[in-house]
């Protein structure tokens, strides 16, 4: 029992460490004056919120470009992940180990090297400094996670149900959409959510491959963090983290909805 007390204390410390920064972020973004050593801001102001909404950066355009890049990357990464997962779990072919390794490869290449190298490749393909190039790199960054999530669920489901559907006369496409896809939905949603968050958070890849032409919230936020205005940095970080968590929570709710639906059937 005593050990559980220690573990509980450890958990409590972990919760504090996770939540405290978030609370401080909210306080700083609304603080007009918060000098050392006050534990709470001395004066409040909505200056940062005005700056965020109507200031030098066009927030809605930034949100729009970040969200569309994220959605595009999530969709493509999940699609390629599904195709790869099917090939790896439902088909027999030589060199499967190599295919699995290829799926993980982008995780093993250091991010700075990957971004710089892929920029050189995209320069030759004419895709450097374009939104399409940035989208491609975001997909590549998210793909290992999509493949890993979707291979797990596809292997767990197996191909037997689709074979039954085929025996009963369904074509392969119909068998997949009517039988397998609904069962795979929780995995598909996790993959979409993960890939979205990864794309939404990209800084270095967008900076290098977008060449400053493709602007996202994650990219524009960094100079504020480097600058001295803690309140302004906090309000951008809050807008970024808040919007990302909102999307993540939406996916969580969808996943729970699908799991409940599965339980009812």
């Amino acid at each position: 029992m005593r050990r559980n007390v220690l573990l509980r204390l450890f958990l409590a410390a972990a919760v504090l460490c996770i939540l405290l920064p978030a609370a401080v972020l909210v306080l700083w973004s609304a603080a007009a004056r918060w000098s050392w050593p006050s534990l709470l801001p001395e004066r409040w102001s909505a200056r940062t919120v005005r700056e965020l909404l109507f200031g030098s950066q066009d927030l809605w355009r930034l949100l729009g470009s970040s969200m569309s890049l994220g959605s595009g990357a999530a969709g493509l990464s999940t699609l390629i992940g599904l195709l790869t997962a099917r090939a790896v779990s439902l088909y027999d072919f030589p060199g499967k180990g190599l295919v699995r390794f290829a799926g993980l490869l982008p995780l093993l290449i250091p991010g700075t090297v990957f971004a710089t190298g892929i920029h050189l490749v995209l320069l030759r393909l004419g895709l450097a400094d374009t939104a399409a190039g940035v989208l491609l790199v975001h997909v590549m960054t998210a793909l290992p996670y999509s493949i890993s999530i979707l291979t797990d669920v596809t292997a767990a489901l197996g191909g037997a149900l689709e074979e039954q559907a085929a025996v009963l006369g369904a074509g392969p496409v119909r068998a997949f959409f009517a039988i397998s896809l609904p069962e795979l939905m929780p995995g598909v949603l996790s993959s979409l959510s993960m890939a979205f968050i990864l794309s939404y958070s990209q800084y270095f890849t967008t900076l290098i491959v977008g060449g400053g032409r493709v602007k996202t919230l994650a990219l524009v936020m960094v100079p504020y963090i480097q600058g001295g205005d803690r309140s302004l940095a906090s309000v951008y970080a809050l807008a970024f983290t808040g919007s990302a968590l909102l999307v993540s929570a939406l996916f969580e709710a969808l996943i729970r909805h699908w799991q409940k639906r599965g339980d009812r059937l």
Binding site: L20, V24, T84, L143, Y203, A218, M221, S234
Partner: protein
């Protein structure tokens, strides 16, 4: 036969993406050997590597990156394992606590850097708490963690993200082992601590060690945290390399690429070494498959 062809078709996009990744690494390595036909450089040479490897600035950058990666990964793997054990033992690996643990994994490194600035700087919240507790009378007395050659703030910021990552990464395996073999050991009379140390922990090591490799390589090649929280001198290796890459004189390009080449080759070497070591170690403990 048909089946093989279908599998090949399904794998086409992965092949294309893998080819792009390999081309990316190949381009960096080619330029690091001084082969940039567009600049009229066509003879491959190891000179750029020789120059990089003998420069004192490179040595200190390499040391910074190795130190940050090793310390943060070791501490995160240990604390993450304890956190995972706490989640398994206290929360049965479910519920709100597990969702909360995912939060730092979702927060990007740039925002984590801002958290470090707001909390750990000499006028940050931790320093204010130290004043409230009567430990210091002046912000100057609070230890400098940020923008210093010790990279303490960078390591702590990595920990904030990586401890939950290790716990989350290990959770499924440890929960499974604990619910089966761990309980069996306790039913046979082992104390919870003994059952954890002799049964659950060794069998969870494959996940812990994989998580260790992932976070070590990530911190070694990471750019954002040392850029935003590190010292001006010495710089971390990726920050140093990117600065060299941004040099306006394009003839400096191969020298910058040699730095990226070193990061790439060292990461690959460490991954390979890790593969060999853990393979043996895990087989010895009996936790490997």
């Amino acid at each position: 036969m048909r089946k093989k062809r279908t599998a090949c078709l399904l794998l086409l996009p992965l092949f294309a993406v893998t080819a792009l990744s390999l081309l990316a690494c190949g381009s960096v390595l080619a330029q690091s050997l001084g082969v940039i036909p567009a600049f009229g450089l066509e003879e491959p040479t190891l000179d750029y590597y020789r120059n990089a490897l003998t420069s004192p600035a490179f040595h200190s950058a390499l040391l910074v990156s190795l130190r940050v990666a090793l310390l943060s990964a070791l501490a995160a793997a240990s604390l993450g394992t304890v956190l995972c054990a706490a989640l398994v033992r206290v929360c049965r690996a479910r519920g709100a606590m597990v969702s909360l643990i995912r939060l730092p994994i979702l927060v990007p490194h740039t925002v984590t850097a801002l958290f470090a600035i707001l909390l750990l700087s000499q006028t940050g919240l931790v320093s204010r708490c130290a004043w409230a507790l009567g430990l210091i009378d002046d912000p100057g007395q609070f230890p400098q963690l940020l923008f210093t050659p010790g990279y303490g703030g960078t390591i702590l910021a990595y920990l904030w993200k990586e401890v939950p990552f290790v716990a989350y990464f290990t959770l499924a395996l440890m929960a499974g082992v604990s619910a089966t073999l761990g309980e069996a050991a306790e039913n046979l009379g082992a104390s919870p601590l003994r059952s954890f140390l002799t049964v659950t922990l060794p069998l969870s090591l494959p996940a812990v060690s994989q998580a260790f490799l992932i976070i070590f390589l990530f911190a070694f090649g990471g750019y954002e945290l040392p850029l935003l929280l590190g010292a001006t001198v010495p710089k971390a290796l990726p920050v140093y390399a990117h600065l060299a890459y941004m040099h306006p004189d394009l003839r400096q390009r191969p020298a910058a690429m040699a730095l990226y080449g070193v990061i790439l080759l060292l990461s690959a070497a460490m991954a390979a070494l890790y593969g060999l070591l853990t393979h043996r170690l895990l087989r010895k403990i009996g936790g490997g498959r």
